[in-house]
Symmetry: C4
Subunit: 274 residues, 4 copies
Amino acid sequence: MSSEQKKSSFRHRLHEIIYEADTNAGKVFDVVLLAAILASVLFVMLESVESFDTKYHTFLNIAEWIITILFTIEYILRLIAIKKPWKYVFSFYGIIDLLSTLPKYLSLIFVGTHHLAALRALRLLRVFRILKLARYIGASNRLLVALRASRAKIAVFLFFIVILCIILGTVMYMVEGEENGFTSIPRSVYWAIVTMTTVGYGDIAPHTPLGQLIASVIMILGYGIIAIPTGIVSSEMTKTVLDVNTQACPSCLKENHKDNAEFCYNCGSILNEE
Amino acid sequence: MSSEQKKSSFRHRLHEIIYEADTNAGKVFDVVLLAAILASVLFVMLESVESFDTKYHTFLNIAEWIITILFTIEYILRLIAIKKPWKYVFSFYGIIDLLSTLPKYLSLIFVGTHHLAALRALRLLRVFRILKLARYIGASNRLLVALRASRAKIAVFLFFIVILCIILGTVMYMVEGEENGFTSIPRSVYWAIVTMTTVGYGDIAPHTPLGQLIASVIMILGYGIIAIPTGIVSSEMTKTVLDVNTQACPSCLKENHKDNAEFCYNCGSILNEE
Amino acid sequence: MSSEQKKSSFRHRLHEIIYEADTNAGKVFDVVLLAAILASVLFVMLESVESFDTKYHTFLNIAEWIITILFTIEYILRLIAIKKPWKYVFSFYGIIDLLSTLPKYLSLIFVGTHHLAALRALRLLRVFRILKLARYIGASNRLLVALRASRAKIAVFLFFIVILCIILGTVMYMVEGEENGFTSIPRSVYWAIVTMTTVGYGDIAPHTPLGQLIASVIMILGYGIIAIPTGIVSSEMTKTVLDVNTQACPSCLKENHKDNAEFCYNCGSILNEE
Amino acid sequence: MSSEQKKSSFRHRLHEIIYEADTNAGKVFDVVLLAAILASVLFVMLESVESFDTKYHTFLNIAEWIITILFTIEYILRLIAIKKPWKYVFSFYGIIDLLSTLPKYLSLIFVGTHHLAALRALRLLRVFRILKLARYIGASNRLLVALRASRAKIAVFLFFIVILCIILGTVMYMVEGEENGFTSIPRSVYWAIVTMTTVGYGDIAPHTPLGQLIASVIMILGYGIIAIPTGIVSSEMTKTVLDVNTQACPSCLKENHKDNAEFCYNCGSILNEE
């Protein structure tokens, strides 16, 4: 076996362990990885709790450095294991993996940036790949199809909401004024969003009768308006669930066939099976 | 009549009274049981109200002990009345019945545990069995079918929400900082959940303009995102209501027949009736 | 014309004016009535505003008495105008009309009851009858059909929510304790409802980390659970909108025909037209 | 070329630039306009922030005057560019354009009115026309069709909500009284709306046990009632998405054909293509 072949075989074995979950070694690697991700997210969160940090600062710091170094090694191994490393680097998971590793190193130079390590939480999405949850991925894909279909409508909807909140916030700024907590238009717009979305912190609240009347209108509006995005997604999901697709008939171009239809409901031509 | 027969006949009679509601004795037993459950839940709740407890402490204590002893006797009778007691012990209602009875006894040993007796509220679910509300159970079952079908999608959705809240909570911790109430990452994540779900207590609220901008984005996100679980359940319920099932045709394997269809809409074969 | 005939003709004329809106006199009567109802609701509301009441107390009191006497006369005329007065007395509108008139008289005997006059707001529902808004009534009826169909499911759902809130409230009472505002189980159950329904006043809020963790779970639960009643109503409304009815075929008993179907989709028999 | 022809040609060229976006000049004009609108909204908002205004007052004032004058010129050019200026003046965009320009001039006479300039945010709706986002406009139109269809039902629903809140607010005013913050009926109605819509500021909150019980009922009611507008819009959207229309067959008058059906599903007659 030549050196070149050895290297190729080593890379193949590495690829099997890191990227696949069929072999025993691969499964062990994946479970250990998930545990490390969970632990690292937990450590970053606990470090920010003062009472915890003062007691266990050294332990948390060392633990985070160990995990960061392990993640770095994993990242390098992932680069070695595939033939086209750049494809991994610019993939969704590749970017997340890099973002999870960098903050700790950056914290040596810039103070405070190590909290960004909480971005590691995104690595938890790997659970879907690792557990080979085809069923869940299927569910997730269906969701994505319905969401993608309703993207344009929801964009229009959110655009209207923002404009409405700017208008209503300005009106409230003029009605309530600075003495009632509406100290500026941006702050009033913030209040309008808090109210319209039915969050209602109560840090700013109208005090004049007219302000309360307008607030009531905004609330009832927000209560009714929430029906719109819900209606959009519901109808798209219903379409998906009822298996109506947008495939066009090859001979008469009619759409909206059932997903498992074999013949066009309009002209009887045979439809292309996927 | 032999002693063995007597015992069997006694158990049969007991079973009729306790587990069924067809005889007069059975009906009386069920109504008394429901009243006792309602009273016991009320007593536990009232006991926790200080002004009430100081006045009627002895009364409440005695009343709870009487009910607990009655529940204990009922539990023992239930064990005697059926042939396979273990089946009852590990059934849904069996576990609830045990959990409703134990806390009062535990309170003799551990202080404070008797509040767990509020778990008795779960026994109220028995109302469905007792009142033989076939219609309501039917409704409940349909609900369960639709919920079971959307389980996977909703799990994926909630998983995303939690990860999103961890990320956004961390960002807000860095933006607002400890002086504005965001004292740690876990607390900021808690705030992100309070905001995303449109609950909005207001115990923690952003004070910096940038923080309020991010909060606005989270709120609008949460306002739009709620459309997703709603859409999921709506579409599944619509499927149930329109009686489309996922039964496959025995000869051509097509799915999505109407629930009461006799012939396949694709090849005309006779479908298996359930 | 005999006295008997005169009386009958007078009653007929009265019926036309009060109960119908086809004649000019009837239209004028209805418009005046609506204006009086609106004014009376406004007066009751303004009377409760102290700064307003101190200034205009005499005016408001006299205005309310005038309206109350007018409503009393109207009530008596309604009794005279129809042949079976008891039918009106126990009808929906009859009960509301009585409840709108009584409080002012009761206020002579019992202090404070005159605020109940705000029940007059219910009389505003008459606007549907008066304006002959067939389109709106149609809409309202469709709504009622869908709501009636989902009644059982929604009852089951609300029952679960209440039981869940009792359990979760008790748990939070034990976790947070009296020093954090959870002073009793009923109060904690109230908090659980405030949180589950995403209202979130913030008058009571968890302070311990464990309490905030449980609160987060309740919030996410409440955020997801709202999908259930929405899904129920959505699916029933979709059924109504798509005109699927529950009419059974007279020969094969299959249901779920389209509202305007003429032949059974199962056996081809002619369906009964409504 | 006569003077008349020159004028007409100039107007034609102007129309091309201002009202259309096919030529290069037209595209440049539109992009500059959008930028100016965005900047002007930003300036109005920043002017209301005190810390900002004290520093940059002169700059903001001049910037706003420049933009206002530019908008005025644009408005006049729009009037010149079309043959029937009144049609533009009374169109949706015409009114908005006027409302965006006037406040700054009015501020010379009346103090405080210049904040109304935030109405310029409405001009942002032009983005749909400018970017020729046919896809978005399509989405928006579909939304409008579904919303128009559910208008009557939602009006009935909101009417019920308002009446319900008046009744419940009055009841709470009598239960809680002025010492718990429910100082008047209008204020209590405001609280009922805040609670029913699940906003929950917490500026007013019930303190008596009975008040909290009623509040709990209102919250659960509001939590369940939100299903209604959502169900209405969902069902209408589903109808739109599934492409069922209300076109009637010319020979048998049956409705609910698919949007792209060519033959009546009932009698086989050819349907009118739109």
